[in-house]
């Protein structure tokens, strides 16, 4: 296969892999994801000049639509959701290469005709036989789509070309289902052509975590049990279950957020330096963290995990109902809308350092952050009066207001020796005026150029589920049955504060 860098004019222009020509086939293209995220992301990539010259987008879905009509729908969506204004001429050219392919997901004839359409597009648009299949449908359809891609031969790369798969989360609902899904994926696509999207990994600040740790001398030297007291990872949102009750009742906070996003952030925070920046080197290190996570099962779940549900309360001064009063939620639901965990990573670097992870709905403030709380100085000199217990903390804000802050102790001006915490603050928005690309832009570009660094590998997903399943089993088997409650608009249940108090710690105030 000819490589893009054979092009003598490419040298020195961009220091990243160039997206290769391909046909992107989106399954379940009439859903929200395509309109809100994928098409705006693709349009923005086109406007930045990052798309290859040969790109076709084939939208595979059941509803009765035409390509022309669907292009119009997508045009409206792009105008509404794109981060930049839509240029009519560019949109027309981009949209001319979007095609609607009507078929049910279980109809082999639909895949046979898709194959013919892709061949025709290869000849017309120069997609070079490269195919990128995007599973944006309901997860219940994944199996049948994968089976049809396999049996139709579409998942087999042609000589000199590639066939890749992007899978949207959730990657299963537990380890057995994740394993089944991964088997179905593996039957159709090799692992190195499989891209499991966790959009948190596409966020700039998540990507910056590795840069912060491994491009700066000062932090990595302190990044271990000798200097770190605890690590707190928080994902909070004031929103309730909104219109997702059907899904959320089945998933709960643990499966919706912890299994994927928060464990990914934990891995990036805790992992060892990779040998290089290749996808597998980075993911190898993340997997080692998951393998070193001390399993939570049986009674240890009761000791280390708090699950809770919001009751009626106030958000931004307005009354909001409790979870069980939300439309679509069972009045006796035991689904957790909040979970707090104390995790331990049993390796040399992190021995004895608790990682506190919490996620919740109907909390007072929206924010995702990682806080490294450093150990206090010895109780001599300025620390004799125990006034500097939490002097140093490094906080990496993932969203909103992406940035990094460092808290340290400073003497207040004056004759008295009074020490106060002060904060050094770096805000992306302040320092860099440039608009940050959406996570999906980066991830689509990476998939088109074959860089899987920001995608989850099979063993990552399965190790994460294995860990999560232990907790859920304890909840279900009655070994840790307790469900706590917190009023909407508060920072979670008292039991979560007590969890940290056992280690002499407190939750950070966001």
């Amino acid at each position: 296969m000819e490589k893009e860098n054979d092009n003598p004019f490419r040298d020195g222009l961009v220091n990243r892999a160039v997206a290769e020509p391909c046909a992107l086939v989106i399954f379940g293209a009439t859903g929200d994801l395509t309109r809100r995220k994928l098409i705006p992301a693709l349009y923005n990539l086109a406007a930045d000049g990052n798309l290859p010259s040969g790109l076709a987008v084939v939208c595979f879905a059941r509803r009765d639509k035409t390509s022309e009509g669907f292009r119009e729908e997508l045009g409206e969506a792009a105008r509404k959701y794109s981060r930049r204004p839509v240029n009519d001429e560019l949109w027309s050219r981009f949209a001319a290469n979007i095609f609607y392919h009507r078929s049910s997901f279980d109809d082999p004839a639909g895949y046979a005709s898709l194959g013919k359409e892709l061949e025709s597009l290869e000849a017309r648009l120069g997609t070079r036989g490269n195919r990128l299949f995007y599973l944006a449908s309901s997860p219940t359809e994944f199996d049948v789509i994968l089976e049809n891609l396999r049996s139709s031969g579409l998942s087999h790369a042609q000589p000199g070309a590639w066939a890749r798969l992007i899978v949207e989360k959730p990657f299963g609902t537990d380890l057995p289902s994740a394993h089944r899904l991964n088997e179905a994926v593996a039957a159709a696509f090799p692992e190195d052509e499989t891209f499991r999207i966790d959009h948190y990994l596409g966020k700039e600040t998540a990507q910056n975590l590795m840069v912060l740790r491994f491009a700066n001398t000062v932090f990595e030297a302190l990044w271990n049990h000798r200097y770190v007291e605890n690590v707190q990872i928080t994902a909070s949102e004031p929103l309730g279950v909104e219109t997702r009750a059907g899904y959320y009742e089945q998933s709960g906070a643990l499966r919706d957020m912890v299994q994927n996003h928060l464990l990914q952030l934990l891995c990036l925070t805790a992992m060892e330096p990779p040998t290089d920046l290749s996808a597998d080197a980075v993911r190898d290190e993340k997997v080692k963290v998951l393998r070193a996570l001390r399993p939570l099962t049986g009674k240890s779940v009761a000791e280390n995990v708090v699950r809770a549900q919001y009751t009626a309360g106030f958000i931004n001064g307005s009354d909001v109902p409790g979870y069980r009063e939300e439309p679509g939620v069972a009045p006796d639901s035991k689904t957790e809308t909040y979970v707090a965990l104390r995790l331990h990573i049993d390796n040399w670097r992190w021995a004895g350092v608790p990682f506190f992870v919490r996620v919740g709905k109907r909390l007072p403030k929206s924010g995702t952050e990682i806080a490294i709380q450093f150990r206090p100085t010895p109780p001599v000199l300025f620390n004799r009066e125990s006034q500097l217990q939490d002097a140093n903390a490094l906080v990496i804000r993932i969203q909103p207001d992406e940035g990094i802050s460092f808290r340290m102790a400073a003497k207040m001006p004056g004759a008295l020796l009074q020490i106060e915490p002060v904060k050094m603050d770096f805000h992306y928005g302040t320092s860099f005026g440039k608009a940050t690309p959406e996570a999906y832009e980066r991830l689509l570009l990476d998939a088109m150029s074959g860089d899987a660094t920001l995608f989850a590998r099979r063993d990552e997903v399965e190790h994460a589920w294995s860990f999560i399943d232990g907790i859920r089993k304890a909840w279900q088997d009655g070994e840790a049955p307790r469900l706590d409650f917190y009023p909407a608009g508060t920072w979670g249940p008292r039991e979560a504060d007590e969890l940290l108090a056992q280690d002499g710690a407190t939750w950070r105030r966001l």
Partner: protein
């Protein structure tokens, strides 16, 4: 995207020895809704008599996207009397991505007259924001004898060769400065940066295997450029020639390139008074095919096209970038690293400069 807010202290005259103190007072008097930011020390040096008036609004524009501490120096080395004047100001902007606060960049302005112009290194080094990179934008013609005290301490020297009346000796001085800096001073020509989007667009044409296969037998390159931008067009031509391993030759007055395979590649530079960009189009002719990169009418995009004689054309729109000097400078400031292809491009067309 930013929303500009009027500078809150336009041009406060200060004594040179009290600049730091006055800046401190300026910030302590400002309200809590303003935050000072800086990613770079940006020195702007000009010997033009309207340098302060011309550059202050330009710096205000740049500050909206790239926070800095700017030292704007207007020098008149030929003036009879020695005089030094200084002012301080700040450019504040509210950014959509930056939260509710206004982000402010400092500007310290100097007018150096007569022998005082020779104090430039001292003036610069006394007023830098420590630990930040030092970018030095020298506007106009460079001095023939580079000042080692200055250039060995500068991280990035920015010039715009488009303004040079005699480019060949200026490029020689630029090379001397790079040698003086012993590799620590990166040289950046805004004329080269001006071509970035066009080079990117041209590269995209030749990602197509069919087009790339034609490259070794490229027969002719035709470039249309705006009056006053011959050097910009030459840099583009030099880039194409150097990337393809061509050598410039001539027969009498006629110049042409000798290709690697020994064949001849012709070129034409067409100057026009009204065009949408410094370089509006570049056309390539091959045996049995043509390709082009043309600025679209609305100016926001290039339309690139590859047209084989027998087959369907391949066309794409790519961003053209804006050509305002502030946008070009911003693009340069946002870059990290050097321009390794710049000197080979210059060398490829050196006899034509």
């Amino acid at each position: 995207m930013t929303q500009s807010v009027q500078s809150f202290s336009p041009g406060l005259p200060v004594g040179v020895g009290e600049i730091d103190r006055k800046l401190g007072e300026l910030w302590s008097a400002s309200d809590a809704g303003k935050v000072r930011a800086s990613l770079v020390n940006l020195v702007v040096y000009s010997e033009s008599s309207d340098a302060i008036a011309a550059n202050t609004p330009l710096l205000a524009e740049i500050a909206a996207d790239h926070a800095f501490r700017a030292l704007l120096v207007q020098a008149d080395p030929q003036a009879e009397k020695t005089d030094v004047e200084a002012w301080i100001t700040a450019h504040c902007h509210r950014r959509e991505s930056g939260g509710p606060k206004e982000i402010c960049s400092e500007q310290i302005t100097f007018r150096l007259e007569g022998p005082a112009a020779g104090r430039l290194p001292n003036i610069v080094f006394s007023h830098l924001d420590s630990d930040l990179p030092l970018c030095f934008w020298w506007q106009g013609e460079l001095h023939p004898e580079p000042d080692a005290r200055l250039w060995t301490r500068v991280d990035r020297l920015i010039v715009d060769s488009q303004s040079w009346s005699r480019p060949a000796p200026q490029f020689a001085i630029l090379r001397d400065i790079e040698v003086l800096g012993a590799g620590s001073c990166a040289v950046c020509d805004l004329n080269w940066t001006r071509l970035f989007h066009l080079r990117y667009a041209i590269a995209q044409i030749f990602d197509t295997p069919a087009a790339r296969a034609k490259l070794p037998r490229l027969e002719k390159v035709a470039i249309r450029h705006l009056t006053g931008h011959r050097l910009t067009a030459l840099q583009l031509l030099g880039w194409i020639a150097s990337r393809l391993g061509w050598h410039l030759e001539h027969e009498g007055q006629r110049h042409f390139f000798r290709r690697r395979d020994g064949g001849v590649a012709e070129f034409v530079l067409r100057e026009e008074a009204e065009l949408p960009a410094a370089v509006a189009s570049t056309e390539f002719r091959f045996p049995g095919a043509e390709a082009s990169a043309k600025r679209a009418d609305d100016g926001e995009f290039y339309v690139v096209e590859y047209k084989p004689a027998n087959g369907a054309p391949v066309s794409q729109m790519l961003p053209a970038g804006r050509e305002k000097i502030s946008d070009i400078l911003l693009a340069e400031l946002a870059r990290v690293g050097r321009h390794p292809l710049f000197w080979p491009a210059i060398r490829a067309v050196e006899p034509l400069l």
